[in-house]
Amino acid sequence: MRKIRLAIAGLTACSGCQLSLLNCEDELPELVERFEFSFFPLACSPAELTGEYDAAMVEGCLSMPHEKELLLELRARSRYLIALGTCAVWGGIATLRNGENREQLRQLVYGQNPVADATFDPKSLKDLVQVDAGIVGCPPETAELLRLLAGLLRGALPEAIDYPVCTECNMREKLCLLLGQNKICLGLLTSGGCGAKCPSLSVPCEGCRGPALETNLEESFDVYARHGFDRLAVRGRLRRFCPEWLL
């Protein structure tokens, strides 16, 4: 079987999606047999883009000009461009204060110095290029990552998940943290697929997988309000991983 050629790159991010791949300790030796890690600066040298790729897997959001260049280059060279993780799909944590005056934010950190002034409000990959598929999660589930790779072996991309975290939480027969304990759990609005990881340990969902395929935001606000969280509080939370929530 021909090895699948991969380019794995990180843009503005924490490397968590790439690390998730390296966290597939049991599978790494097998992955090496099926995939050519042709461009993967985090873990493999040298970092040179060569030829075409079966898939480019890109972590992180766009916030600097050189990242745009790299992304366009990867798009041009790859059959599939895959957004890896919530930052790449939705923008992620770095978008937390998008829409505010970025220069002021920059000055809050760097003062008057002109460092890092070329950055712009972080955007998801789809803002610049066509994205063929994505997996969400901050970080993504390693199981999903492995399925994605196994699919690539067959030329297949993952199917979209159409259920929210709540569904999985109920499937696991867990006490609803919102209804039962008045905790601000975002499971209602968040895309499932993590197995309700957090609520199943009694920790409210923070929405790290971004919006579910279909949500009923208005009605959800009412439910949250009945349990003591006003619109502002909920919006503040929703904002954590996805600027589009506020549209």
């Binding site: 929210p164 109920n170 696991r172 919102l178």
Partner: protein, 329 residues
């Protein structure tokens, strides 16, 4: 029908005897207050007074997410082996028994589902009577479904009357002679032994194509999926296939689905046959009160009340049925 009396103090002993046949599961209240069917290990008594468990017995027959086929280039598709241990489900309310009856109609028959039938064959059902609460509508269900069990416990003063309902039940009763007494009482009527009483109102309104009720329900629906996850008769499933990293193996998985999700009726290219939530809501209603295909006219709502309890916005299908009924007249 054989009937025997069990003194309440003998319940533990009875469970011990049952355990000789296999693991016993029954309703248990967790530290978080949630009642679930769970393993009744030695010395643990079921919570027979709880109105309902969070998930119905279907979780033992169709797992929320399970592998239904494996594939290797060498052997093709195979049904994974299903361990043959019997499982005794203790304290199942009549509505849930009827729920199992409905699932049987879908998954058994001439061409049974391999995994379901293997699990069903080893499942021993011990029913128990209960007192409906304000969410229940079992007593008013016009469903032709039956609350079939192997043994049934009727709660009476000081204990239970056990009746055997199947050959397996006969055998169990025989085994448990040591803790049972001859029964001198009549089997009481009011312990809701049977799901669906005769004075039920069988009229279920045909859902009008349009109407404010639908839109109202749809507006409240969050699409969280809780209602169908907890429904004893909801059995829609999605099927996914995952290839192995070796490139030559695969597994096929089915997982519970929900007709209120956008993807439920969506086909390739994005076309959906039930685009808006009101349409999907009508679909759900139809399934519960009308039925599809071979199970047309089988009302599949067994009245357990779970969806009403689970819905974060309090949508009540039963109430909707009532409204539509009035509208229809």
């Amino acid at each position: 029908m054989v009937a025997r009396f069990l003194e309440i103090s003998n319940l533990k002993a009875l469970l011990n005897l049952l355990r000789q046949r296999g693991p016993v599961h029954g309703p248990l209240r967790g530290a978080d207050g949630v009642v679930r069917f769970a393993s009744l290990t030695r010395g643990v008594l079921p919570d027979l007074s709880a109105s309902r468990t969070m998930l119905p017995p279907k979780k033992y027959l169709l797992y929320p997410r399970e592998r239904i086929l494996t594939y290797t280039d060498h052997e093709g598709y195979r049904v994974p082996a299903e361990p043959g241990l019997p499982l005794i489900l203790f304290g199942v309310h009549p509505c849930d028994l009827a729920g199992v009856n409905y699932l049987d109609k879908i998954f058994l028959g001439d061409d049974p589902d391999p995994l379901y039938s293997a699990r069903r064959a080893r499942l021993i059902l011990v029913g128990s009577s209960c007192i409906p609460d304000r969410f229940c509508s079992c007593h008013a269900s016009p469903s032709p479904l039956q609350a079939l069990s192997d043994l049934f416990l009727h709660t009476v003063d000081g204990g239970f009357i056990l009746t055997s309902e199947s050959a397996c039940g006969d055998e169990l009763l025989a085994r448990m002679q040591s803790v049972l007494e001859e029964c001198t009482m009549d089997v009481p009527e009011d312990t809701r032994r049977f799901f669906g009483s005769t004075d039920a109102v069988p009229v279920i309104a045909e859902p009008e194509a349009t109407g404010p009720e639908w839109q109202e329900c749809a507006d409240h629906c969050l699409g969280c999926g809780a209602c169908s996850v907890c429904c004893p008769t909801c059995s829609c499933f999605d099927v996914l296939e995952f290839g192995g990293l070796d490139g030559c193996s695969a597994e096929r998985v089915r997982q519970w689905d929900n007709c209120l999700f956008k993807g439920h009726a969506q086909v390739a290219g994005g076309l959906s046959f039930r685009k808006d939530r009101a349409e999907r809501f009508r679909y759900r209603y139809w399934h519960k009160y009308g039925g599809f295909g071979p199970l047309r006219d089988v009302v599949s709502c067994v009245g357990c009340g779970r969806c009403r309890v689970a819905c974060p916005t309090g949508i009540d299908l039963r109430q909707l049925a009532g409204q539509l009924d009035k509208g229809g007249k």
